[in-house]
Amino acid sequence: MSRSASKGLWANIMLNIKNLHVKLEDEDKVILRGVDLTVEAGKVHAIMGPNGSGKSTLSYVLSGRDGYEVTDGSAELEGEELLDMDPEERAAAGLFLAFQYPVEIPGVGNMTFLRTALNAQRKARGEEEVSAGDFLKLVREKAASLKIDADMMKRPVNVGFSGGEKKRNEILQMALLEPKMCILDETDSGLDVDAMKLVADGVNALRSEGRGFLVITHYQRLLDHIKPDVVHIMANGRIVLTGGPELALEVEKNGYTDILAGVE
């Protein structure tokens, strides 16, 4: 009951990160030093920052990857604490991470993978599983819009895929799983302009009132195609600057060093 009450309170807040501190599990290396970030439903937030600022770590910690220890703070998805959940529970709750380096899994067919994932999430939410026929229809429709051909669907997950194909496959998963909160980690890395446009179109098609986006990127160019509502600059494990889309242009023009010098 308290859960639904808190949900009501945060009705349009999708992701709420408070004072998040994270270190490496096996080393005394602190990576996040108090991240505060709120992403509203229907909005696209971008996080930019120099290499090593903690951007990718934030995405891994939110999705539940091993190897990190949260020493303080919280991260809630629609009012529910993410950090207490297993990765698969976070996914079923509506969180999705598009990987910077999508993983190759020899021996597991892409179709099997997608269907297993979709049905596992539906089952976890108490929904009915999608039949083989309906699933096929669904995949065909989503794949076509991302120019993913049947051959790619038949191959093992990401095995032998080009960089662009891997990223398109990530967006296809996102389209199928229909998450509430999408985190895109350096989705533009390794893509040429045409591939980036295809991926951006796929993301833009998923923008909706009920869905939040966190786009992590080093360069501004992806944000030409996926227009953010809010831009954050991350440095040394903290959000140090927040502004509108113009902030990304400033990064592009002046580089991180100048901007960060102004902050500190």
Partner: protein
Amino acid sequence: MMALAQTRLDQLSARIAGLHFPSTGWQGKARGDALSRLGEVGLPAARDEYWRYTAPAKLTAAEVKADVSKGEVAFDETDALRVVFVDGVFDAAASDDLAMDGLEIVRLADAVTDIHWAAEIYGQLETKGQTPVVRPLATLATAFATDGLLIRVTGKATRPVHVVYIGKSDTSDAILHHCVMLEKGAEMTLLESGDAAARFTSNLEVDVAEEARFHHVRLQGRNADRRVNTHIFARIAEQSTFKSFTASINGTMTRNEAVLDIVGDDAIAHVAGATVGDGRDFHNDDTVFITHAAERCESRQVYKKVLKNGATGVFQGKILVKPGAQKTDGYQISQSLLLDGDSQFLAKPELEIYADDVKCSHGSTSGAIDDTALFYLRSRGVPLRRAQSLLVLAFLAEALSEIEDEALAEDLRLRLEDWLDRHEG
């Protein structure tokens, strides 16, 4: 040859004391010869080079007692001619009519005529397979086999022959010997499944003539107390194909030996296996010896073992390329997935090459489940156990893909998946 030490003689005498020795008829000479060879080499002992990783005691003990209640018969969806052996004895009532277009089947115990085609094979391929490495338990099977099938394939067999083994007595000690002769251009698929007895020792001799095709798929399923030593001896002639696959699930002592002799040009010989085992009592050994004695032949060995909770897997695989066997293409891979730190995989890959224009590769690996792949699956909502099963099945997939018939491969894949479901955690 030196006389056998007294202790080994005693051990051999104890092992064969209660065994049946039919010394008459067309098999008489081969059996007598085998008995005298056995007297020279004795039973395998722990210090023998080819038994370094597998203690032979469970296979050589004078008596045996084992649970036979968990045998698993496979391929029920496949339309096949079923031949049933109960505790190693042919069961006519439970078997189908042995007549089929394209092949003749005779029960070994019924093959009493003085002159028989199988005389050219029975014990002959086994004898050849004793060089350069002795395989005493194969010799024992030649001498003391009580039953088996003699299959002559004259054309294209219309459906597979499925040998179904059923174990009923917990002290049964079955010794079988099968001979298959494929005539020129003939084709057949031989299936085997079930647990034959408390202990099972067997030979399968296969003579594949020119342009013939032999497919063999078997399941050793589920019984954790299984004690079995099988041997395949094959002679593979010009432009013929020999393919054998074994899925081995559980079993306290399983040793499968395959000795393949490629004697004709442009022939193909593949052996593969998928093994899953859980616990300290699990021991599984694949021992393969492939000889290339002809030109432009291809051989493949693909073995995958999934081991957990202190299980042991062994692979001994050899490719011998004889002088003149040019353009040989030999491939060998043996891999284990160790699901914890207690399990072990012992591999001895060997290449011995006496021709200069050949392509041979071998690889052997042991590893754990890939954490990155596991996280990727979980991040998409796949629960941990299911994600692990998917990755284990993916690991086994390369071996299963060696089976040509997709329905047979799917049957075994489902059984392996079922095992994973039952052995979670």
